[in-house]
Symmetry: D2
Subunit: 298 residues, 4 copies
């Protein structure tokens, strides 16, 4: 089985190297010759263009910077889709917008090719150590086909559903992982601004639902189970947030995310959710955005 | 030792009852007679006014709705401070703004009285079961004095520092606990809006730093230890956030907190933090707000 | 007719002085003796306390820092309401929250006293020159009574409606006047960040609806007249805002208000307003907040 | 002189028609045949492809949906740039991001072609009546060349500067014009939520700086002239905004833009701008974003 690997950057290089070390026969390509040379030293062969890689491969993996580059390399006039043999499988591991995955998957299907989106979680350091996390969108038998390759590059592999669900799950997960940096930044800036001792504050935060226990511990038995009766009402939560905004403004600690949150609690109260449990904020937001409320299947 | 307890509402009633059941001699008061009657059935005595309670007590606990009421009952012309015997201790467990605690603590001190702020974490249901969490601001020996009482009402007691640190820590903790409802609401609304399966998405989120592992797992060894070298740069994090905002807007899923976060990542890049690790967002925010950057003591 | 004037700060001093110069017999008070001295030099008499001022006055004007001080001076145990002669009129010109005005107006009425809220627009410099703007909440004949005094202090007097409407109108007007500073700051920061010439950009902005012509020129004939058929759809407006956010983020120009606006356009599209005229954003927002849509009477 | 016109949609159709009626010899194209037929009835000739139009034209105008389509039609392998005669001039009137204009202008220059960006202000209704507004980025003699054509389509033509300044000025102007819909929506929702009479409130707003007099009347003599001494301090403005947020939350009127503005006023105070005039918010924001402060040339 020949595996093409296009895009040997900060992530692609260690990931392709791990595959090569674990015996996969790779045909690699990158517009940066140094990257290619490094893989050749690991017995990978190379090809000058994506088209050449595609012609020689059963599976072609791409790990490219962004959507526009992926559209060019995979779906371009002389790209992978135009050159891959019938029945070949294309697996894009880049972080792209859903539209790119959907368009390219449709294009591939029309040419009798299979498509898998498998964006990568965790850090580049994890990729170096083969400890990446994958969120995979694929038909079942395609997932089975690529699984050994993903296992050569990572330790945690989620089959999120059909083609396109990997890209979409990555966005949801990335929002929480990335935006939580600003979320925590506002919390610690407030702690510093109020003159608190960092260690003591972290002790408390590590021990309470502040550690996002809401989503893991509380919500499965409350709103996600359809129970919106209050443990703690949205009205009282809004009152606490108002207190926080007052204290933060008095201490001149700007908290843009906290301010945005408070206005959404205000909207929830205006729309009659005030007496419900504060986990019902997801219902209030879905109601506001005309989206079906999330419920776990019984 | 006589303990006064003023404010027998949703929280105060079960908390005072737990103290009464565990043998504390209580003198209670509330403007709502039914609440008082319930405590009298548990062998607590009562008094018609806060002033009366204060005169008969060594320790006076208050669990009142908000700052203005606490200022009235504790610091009013005929309130607790005006009537408590010299050396008595006042412990306010209400959720108030720092200014209220600081003013009343100063007023108490001027009258030779001691003051402790011990706001309450977790839900009313925990208070019923005596499983509350307390964030206590007190001098050491005052903390020792009230500890047994807190243990009669709760299972987790943090001594956050001197008087006023309890109130302030509660605000920081509450911000994370309360605003995370809207934060998670936007994540699940995006998941629903992108047509993902709830169970699969939660599987992934529960397994990654989305579970706020940032603050507990990553940050102590990165920014809080003074190491801002990238695992994952603020520039790339900003790129992911831009992708998330694009996908959310395309799917008509409004995400006010995500949008606010992205602009702060943009400000961090504008201020030269782009190449640092995304944990350094706390440095960028403290720099923007003229606040000392948080570092753990070695 | 004796007029009491309590609060001779940056605003009160010039305003009281203008009244004194125009022949009003004033009894003034302030906790700052210098302020009082200045008014005495203008033939105003003074009194040591608010109570004393109240006893000697038919009309008592207050120009104090904020709500808590106004509550204390007007409604306190020994304040104005407690001491003013039956039928006297209290006019508060301070900027306070609606609750303060409503409570004190009710308290005054219970004591047979009349109440007027007349917060002040424009700058302190205008107050110096007697060119202030007043937003007055009062019964008709009380408005007639205070009008000459307001004319002694200002050039533009709006009778907004019954008691309480002055305070409320001031908040709405202040939001636009004050928040527009940040709104314009983001526009000019974007202009600078995109390397544009300031003069040329201002030329364009001054000539288009950017000068908030929306509210004054477009809306009266569109949404406020019930016509939400598109001149320019919310969908296209959202597309433009997305372009603006993309360009701003590329140029590292943070725009928090623009980002917040875009998410509300996204919510409007999610709630079926996308094909309506962009003036219908007020309908979308009132719908989201469960508030009656604003329509001009035919 | 032959003028090509590609893109005959809601805007392009009336604009091309106005040019045809005023005697311009047009060669038109659109992927929608009906649009083309309408122009043919006005003696315009047509061509099946952009390439054909380009070959026959001295000036080629495009009025297409967005950046990606413009990149395709103007810069595509067989697009306008690839087919236009040496020295021809391309004028794009579509609303695109600056990157698109810059890339295509560079591509055109490399082929000895001239490029002008002239995005369109005001509504489609204005385009129908030939009353559009143009923000033009062009070298001087190119501006002179296209001016008569713009005058055939519009009544207000701004020469903003070199190539690319039209696109950028459109973004700045559009931000103010479009986001002001949400800004005014929050103001009127607050007015409705506080139970005010719409007509009375609009009377006041139309008469004060709420009508964005800040940017046109106050700023040129204050911050833009380097005078940041207070008429009204950022501290007091922040106090008013806090009052507004408190009243809005009490009345359950969500105000996301107001909340975002307040946090930026808080950041300005934290960074030492509190005692400056509230027009200095633009300095605070440029300082926060590492951007040169805007000053009018003396
Ligand atoms: N860096 C991280 O920590 C991280 C973590 C998770 C996911 N990601 C995502 O993974 C993807 C790759 O990230 P990265 O950090 O490796 O990026 P990178 O820019 O370091 O690597 C991209 C590689 O693609 C090559 N390339 C670009 N255009 C090409 C073309 N036309 N043909 C062949 N090769 C081409 C580049 O030369 C480079 O070697 C991105 O979508 C990123 O968002 C990155
Ligand atoms: N409810 C919760 O889940 C929860 C959780 C944590 C913290 N808190 C905080 O604890 C405090 C109390 O909350 P709660 O839910 O018990 O409120 P509550 O309104 O149910 O109880 C307040 C009690 O105080 C009494 N009271 C009011 N004014 C009084 C006066 N002048 N003199 C004597 N008694 C008076 C009321 O009659 C009532 O019984 C609040 O600050 C709240 O923010 C509440
Ligand atoms: N400064 C402005 O540009 C401006 C513009 C419009 C509206 N306002 C509003 O007008 C009000 C007054 O503003 P200002 O700038 O004059 O404030 P200020 O602080 O300069 O003046 C307040 C005056 O009240 C006096 N005072 C305070 N407590 C008192 C008491 N208990 N008894 C008697 N006097 C007391 C103070 O000594 C001071 O002289 C505020 O609500 C403010 O928001 C101010
Ligand atoms: N509609 C408005 O009120 C308004 C106001 C100011 C600016 N604008 C901007 O003007 C531009 C055009 O707006 P519009 O409302 O006319 O859009 P539209 O979608 O109504 O018109 C676009 C036209 O381009 C044609 N087209 C698309 N792809 C083509 C191709 N490859 N070759 C040839 N023709 C093609 C379409 O068939 C259509 O007729 C947009 O960038 C818009 O943002 C619109």
């Amino acid at each position: 089985m020949n595996v093409g690997f296009i895009g040997l950057g900060r992530m692609g290089r260690p990931m392709a190297s791990n595959m090569a070390r674990k015996g996969f026969r790779l045909v690699v390509n990158d517009i940066n010759p140094d990257a290619v040379k490094e893989l050749e030293e690991l017995q990978a062969s190379s090809a000058p263009t994506a088209a050449e890689v595609a012609k020689k491969s059963d599976v072609i993996i791409t790990m490219l910077p962004d959507g526009p580059v992926v559209r060019e390399v995979v779906g371009g006039a002389d790209g992978i889709i135009a050159n891959a043999p019938k029945g070949a499988l294309i697996m894009d591991m880049s972080t792209v917008e859903p539209g790119t995955t959907d368009d390219l998957a449709a294009q591939a299907k029309a040419k009798g090719l299979r498509y898998v989106d498998a964006p990568v979680g965790r850090l580049a350091a994890h990729a170096d150590r083969g400890e990446s996390l994958f969120m995979v969108g694929a038909e079942l038998e395609d997932f089975e086909l690529v699984k050994p390759m993903l296992e050569a590059m990572g330790t945690t592999i989620y089959h999120c559903g059909g083609v396109g669900t990997g890209t979409r799950t990555k966005l949801v997960n990335n929002f929480l992982a990335v935006a939580s940096c600003q979320f925590n930044a506002e919390a610690l800036a407030l702690s510093q601004g109020l003159g608190l001792n960092l260690e003591s504050t972290l002790d408390v935060i590590y021990g309470t639902t502040a550690m996002n226990g809401q989503l893991k511990i509380n919500w499965p038995d409350k709103v996600l189970a359809g129970d919106t009766s209050p443990g703690f009402t949205i009205d009282l939560a809004h009152k606490d947030l108002s207190l926080i905004m007052q204290a933060a403004n008095t201490a001149k600690v700007p908290m843009p995310m906290a301010a945005a949150a408070r206005e959404m609690f205000s909207a929830a109260r205006a729309r009659g959710f005030g007496a419900q449990d504060f986990s019902a904020m997801v219902d209030a937001h879905c109601d506001l955005a005309n989206i079906e409320k999330p419920r776990l299947k019984k």
